[in-house]
């Protein structure tokens, strides 16, 4: 399984004072708070950790079919550079699940210009591909020509391509759309997964 998340860093809120403290208390574990507090670029690390949690949630939802979101259920483990996270180098690490229902998964995060792109993989040996689209129109045109893109009632996206099931993940922010998908056909999910499928709203 795969999950991704895209953050447009200029739009990442720089909360202040008591609100910042309350936000972080609701979102981050004690270990993550230490990472943020020790970083030279705390807002960047905050966005990075959030991005990993978002990508991990997508994997977790696919695995458990439980659409309840508590960011503190996902704990990010990584070693940051002395500067508190490099804007040039990718960051890697693991994300673990508080209830122990799943093993920790690796994550990979890179920054390009103003965008932070993160993905979490359950099956690291599976080849995958990705595409970025600058406009929603471009994105829709691509979908119509190649994929039959759908979401089930849990809002888990997937594609049917040449009568094959493709697992994918998508994220958009700052006007950019990012798709990432396994290039090899995946095993068909259970009938339950498909039973209440809706066409993708986009």
């Amino acid at each position: 399984m795969i999950g991704n998340d895209l953050i447009y860093l200029p739009d990442w809120p720089q909360r202040q004072g008591l609100r910042l403290k309350r936000f972080r208390a609701k979102v981050f574990t004690a270990k993550e708070l230490s990472l943020i507090e020790e970083a030279e670029q705390p807002y960047f690390i905050e966005a990075l950790l959030w991005s990993v949690k978002e990508a991990a949630y997508k994997v977790w939802l696919k695995a458990t079919h439980r659409p309840a979101y508590n960011p503190k259920n996902f704990e990010v483990q990584t070693e940051l550079s002395p500067s508190g996270g490099s804007q040039a180098k990718p960051t890697e690490g693991l994300v673990s699940f508080e209830d122990g229902s799943l093993s920790p998964y690796p994550f990979y995060s890179t920054q390009e210009n103003d965008f932070l792109a993160t993905y979490v993989l359950q099956q690291t040996e599976q080849p995958f591909s990705e595409s970025f689209w600058r406009t929603k129109q471009q994105c829709i045109l691509h979908q119509a020509r190649t994929w039959k893109l759908q979401k089930n009632t849990l809002n888990i996206p997937y594609a049917i391509y040449q009568n094959r099931y493709l697992e994918l993940s998508l994220s958009h922010d700052g006007g950019l759309f990012w798709y990432i998908w396994f290039t090899e056909p995946q095993p068909l999910p259970t009938q339950e997964f498909f039973s209440q499928t809706n066409n993708h709203k986009n």
Binding site: W12, P13, R19, R22, F23, K26, V27, W50, E54, P67, A68, Y69, N70, P71, K72, N155, D173
Partner: protein, 85 residues
């Protein structure tokens, strides 16, 4: 506080974070915050913080986890207000 008053206040809190205005204008209790109103997930936390301030309540992690629809948010706030009385 009546249910209508809570709903009006809830709408005021949510509005700045809504990206789908059409869905917001047709709001029902079944409306999903992230999928229908296209509220960014990071802003979902802001909505929880704003609700805590607006209603002077504390929304714990367990309650926040369930706050996926307008109806769920209304119920959670109502229960917390009732517990204060």
């Amino acid at each position: 506080m009546t249910e209508q008053e809570i709903q009006d206040q809830l709408k005021t809190v949510i509005e700045p974070y809504v990206q789908n205005q059409e869905a917001f204008e047709n709001l029902t209790k079944e409306t999903q915050l992230m999928e229908d109103l296209e509220v960014n997930s990071a802003h979902l936390v802001d909505i929880i913080l704003d609700l805590e301030e607006a209603f002077d309540v504390e929304i714990d992690d367990e309650a926040a986890e369930k706050m996926l629809t307008v109806g769920a948010a209304l119920n959670i706030v109502q229960e917390l207000l009732n517990a204060k009385d």
